[in-house]
Symmetry: C2
Subunit: 406 residues, 2 copies
């Protein structure tokens, strides 16, 4: 008797599928492909030597400790360090408000686990982060999409949705994925007001916040909401997800959640059941590297300089080579921009033609709630070296020009 | 308006609580406490120098690669290595049947995610692994307990349960946690027959299988079931969870699942949404250390020798110091044994008295399905050094003797 695999799986798996992005990444593994598809940081900027030294030191000095099981909450010194960096001015985050996670994806996943019941309503910007959708869709939620423009989510559009009971709002307010756009300060204040007035939870997913290349810095929504309540600590409705993946290195899988203690307490219970704790070694490595503030500041400055050049180069090359009917976002930071083609063009079909020219990107339809976005795609500008950016964008421009004429 | 945290959380969190074991571990952090509470390997046996050298090599030679994002399935060479070690004789596991997880706890958690619907029936040995219960209870399952004796789960007792539809059986067949007992070959064959006859899935949780100190080795249930079907590959009903936590070091959080490809395929989708992938660096470190078969074999041999001595010493000291009304299991391997006191004694109350004497253990009631096991507790013999074992067991014996007279 052979197992009938089709009938074996849980009902929630009907909402699971392999990530389009990660499947495309496999196609682009060929060395001749110029890929703008991933969300990869530039590996040539990884502080490898620093990490090697740090690892050598901690294994030599505290080997038995860094290789042993450890607490679910995370290494106390690392939680302290992250809390301190998130604290700005009077705003003061305590280590008790921090949980270390295995990347910020795990943060997003654990939040759903403790907060969302089947068929709950959740407000999201549209388009939104596809990795959140993969994690949350198996709960069979009702997603209420909010339109976006160059200033981020249209916060005005939230209030009419609130005639129905919603559990929370999720967004990436700073250098959004896939668009690269940022929620303005004015909208952050308005959003904070909506949260407080309606007793709504908000998940601020912020992997890119430190990577600003132009324009004025804006405070986190976490901070903005605390200010509105005249609070100097994290006791409000915002649950903040951060990560070292973009400012240090993603292979260590070290992220964190900052939130009110009742949320952290419940998240700890969920994380215990999920994977006991995040790698002790990787927490120690991250702490050892990141506690050198001078190094971290200058390292992030270097990332900003290199990524700024790549962003500018990509934008210039697009202007010179893309057909004029095609438009795109102009991000002030982060890793991505989003391209919108005329409605008659389909990004999945364009991708096939682009791959024939050995250039790759990610179609954005999977980032949208509802049947839309088929004419949009995401470009990453952090990973490819300058000459590759120029060559890849030229090839893509040629593909688009041909497609426009067909 | 302040958030009413009591009404915020998802319904499934009513089944979440902080792990008793991990909370007791916090109490035992004081250096004067002799703790038999954890499931910790002996840190003085960690191959620290080997890990330090391996890490140095891979960061020097392949730094950009080992610190970058990587595939959800796991590092191909590591999957190959694990597949090869699990293959025995004609039984041949392919790397496509392996998913790398963040510890075997994540394996157990992901399995529930893809297989279990609310209110599904699941068969477990009683007592069973408390970490599985923390992960699975939020799904509101119906657990059908099967009694155990010194030969492991009473497989005969499974058939009558099957008048109700069950989704799967979960157990630790080899050096079980908390009892340390092992399912005999005869019972493994009977179990495999039950699985095949009833088209039932079986989760074989096997973190301790390599740690045998006496008695004859038995094949895994994975292998036993394949043999019954005359299969030489993994296409059957067994889902196997393994880990490097006990044979190398737990701080890296590297485990794996071996299963039929349709199961692995679905697990990959669930893991993508959960944490993208397991730490690239830690997979490379584990591969670099474990691929030296001669080293791994001699390292495991050393663990066996040291743990065998500690087990024997604990058993001898118990015989000499525990009141005769108290009984315990005599494991052939693993990390634990379980003590049963007369029914009038309560392990939680004894723990309070033991902690006053600076000695700790884990009461086992949380490991049992149903209101039972209050007179049982678990002792770990791998973590404490010999003189601590003698002193701790003497103290515990004194506490038990006083309690017996009260």
């Amino acid at each position: 008797m052979t197992m009938n695999w089709d009938t074996v799986f849980a009902e929630r798996t009907s909402e699971m599928k392999r990530s389009t992005v990660r499947e495309i990444l496999k196609l682009t593994a060929k060395p001749e492909v110029i890929s703008f598809a991933g969300g990869l940081p530039a590996p040539e900027l990884f502080p490898i030597e620093r990490i090697r030294e740090a690892t050598d030191t901690i294994l030599s000095e505290r080997g038995a400790e860094v290789l042993q099981y450890s607490t679910t909450e995370g290494m106390p010194e690392l939680r302290q360090l992250i809390a301190k960096r998130l604290s700005k001015g009077k705003f003061n985050i305590s280590p008790e408000n921090i949980l270390i996670t295995s990347g910020s994806q795990q943060g997003v996943d654990l939040i759903a686990r403790i907060l969302l019941d089947e068929r709950d309503r959740v407000i999201v910007e549209n388009p939104t982060y596809v990795g959140m959708l993969s994690s949350w869709k198996p709960y069979h939620l009702h997603f209420s999409p909010v339109p976006t423009d160059n200033n981020g989510m249209d916060v005005q559009a939230i209030e009419p949705l609130l005639k129905d009971k919603h559990k929370l709002i999720y967004s990436i307010p700073t250098f959004q994925n896939p668009q690269g756009t940022t929620l303005t300060l004015e909208r952050r204040q308005k959003l904070a007001q909506v949260l407080v007035d309606n007793d709504l939870l908000y998940v601020e997913d912020d992997p890119y916040g430190e990577l600003r290349y132009s324009g004025d810095p804006v405070p986190t929504v976490l901070q903005t909401e605390a200010e509105l309540r005249n609070a100097t600590d994290v006791t409000g409705n915002v649950i903040y997800c951060g990560t070292y993946s973009k400012v240090l290195t993603p292979g260590l899988r070290i992220g964190w959640i900052a939130a009110a203690f009742p949320i952290i307490d419940k998240l700890v219970q969920a994380k215990q059941a999920t994977d006991l704790h995040t790698s002790t070694l990787n927490q120690f490595i991250s702490y050892e590297v990141a506690r050198d503030e001078e190094f971290l500041t200058s390292h992030i400055e270097q990332l900003r300089n290199v990524y700024r050049q790549r962003r500018d180069l990509m934008l210039e090359t697009m202007t010179a080579n893309f057909p004029q009917e095609v438009t795109w976002t102009k991000p002030e930071g982060g890793l991505f921009l989003m391209v919108t083609m005329p409605a008659k063009l389909n990004a999945a079909e364009i991708l096939v033609k682009a791959l024939e020219q050995n250039v790759a990107f990610v179609p954005c339809d999977a980032f949208f709630i509802g049947d839309m976005g088929h004419n949009t795609f995401r470009l990453n500008f952090s990973n490819a070296r300058p000459e590759m950016i120029v060559e890849g964008i030229k090839r893509l421009g040629a593909v688009l020009k041909v497609a426009m004429k067909e």
